[in-house]
Symmetry: C2
Subunit: 209 residues, 2 copies
DNA sequence: GTCTATATCGGGATAGAC
DNA sequence: GTCTATCCCGATATAGAC
């Protein structure tokens, strides 16, 4: 819940985010967005000309919500181990708050990769920052300092880190049922514990000595 | 490509799997399934009474395709380290062959958790096997044998293992673009290497001494 | 069993009053 | 800017001939 009193356009965008991230592009009904925003269906078309356009706005908004914090950590000059810790901590936090966002991004990207990935790649290009390359440098430095094994591959490490943060949230409806008897609180606690768990897990696996 | 000459019902189910797993329930058009199966739209309704029913059949079929192999490994009496290795190897293999299946399962489970999770939980109940509990036992034994740290939590380990296998395939459209310049072959190779990578990564992080 | 034709309905989009 | 009424197409589903 952000603010409650905003202009119509803002209310629409917020409602649209809720519905789109929950049900995806094709599963979303304009009517449901209108209802949730407390306005009429045709107002949606007044502000955003089409469903497609509204979807685009939502997609960007979700990116904007996620990118800044995470990129800030990744582009910082913290040493590798601290950077991993900070990233995992912040990332699990933010996706726990917006649990359907990552699955939404992945699913829609899967549905229409080229059309959508453009938005993302442009975002990186604009700020002149590629998280994967940047992370590779961090790993290289840590190797030179003798902190991590020479055999460590930065891309695998990066993908591992992302996987361990995102998957448990995205697959929650499944995991909570098969491993936690569908106990919401227990799973919340599990996710909270993962911050430490994932960090130590990652660092243990790459640390020299 | 399984067999080419099968009865109409089989052709429909196969085509339906392709389309449903690719586009999800709401993104799927019956027409597209009919085209892909090389038959008429109304034949779909002849064999499966509704889209909903067809979807159910597909969902089960996908489960059946995945479950047996993976459960066979998990329920075997291999020692923990070998079990991890076998699982990771086989799992990455099978989801690489059916890359859209995991995302499909997760997304549809997210969309309608209770309606769909029932199918899954029943499947487990029928065979009287819960992978999470079983894995917990394996970890316990390994601890008693002094092979892994006492602090290792079996649920985190299980979720880590699943995350590391599934996410890189599910998020491929994204990862391949930001980390591999959208080079398909490079990413294929990356996935192939992950079998060893993930295994050693997991074992390194839990092994005692 | 397989086809063509058609019914029916839902949802995106527009027109036009206020 | 916001509403009501309506258009129109696409998609599921059914009827019925062969």
């Amino acid at each position: 819940m952000t603010e409650l009193n905003k202009d119509t356009e803002g209310k629409i965008l917020e409602a649209a985010q809720d519905v789109f991230t929950e049900k995806g592009m094709s599963g979303t009904r304009m009517q449901e967005i209108a209802d949730k925003a407390g306005i009429n269906k045709s107002l949606l078309h007044y502000y955003y000309r089409s469903k497609e356009k509204l979807f685009g706005a939502v997609f960007k908004a979700v990116l904007v919500k996620f990118m800044p914090k995470t990129l800030k950590v990744l582009s910082s000059d913290l040493p590798l181990f601290e950077k991993i810790e900070k990233f995992v901590d912040g990332y699990i936090d933010i996706i726990t708050k917006h649990p359907s966002a990552p699955l939404f991004l992945i699913f829609e990207l899967h549905r229409n990769p080229d059309g959508i990935a453009g938005i993302l790649l442009n975002a990186f290009k604009e700020i002149g920052f590629n998280p994967v390359e940047s992370f590779a440098k961090d790993v290289k430095i840590a190797k030179e300092m003798g902190l991590v094994h020479e055999g460590v591959d930065s891309k695998h490490l990066f993908v591992n880190m992302m996987s361990l943060c995102i998957f448990p949230v995205a697959a929650r409806p499944l995991l909570q049922r098969i491993g936690f008897e569908n106990d919401k609180k227990a799973y919340d606690k599990f996710l909270e514990m993962r911050k430490l768990e994932v960090t130590t897990f990652l660092i243990n696996s790459i640390r020299k000595s």
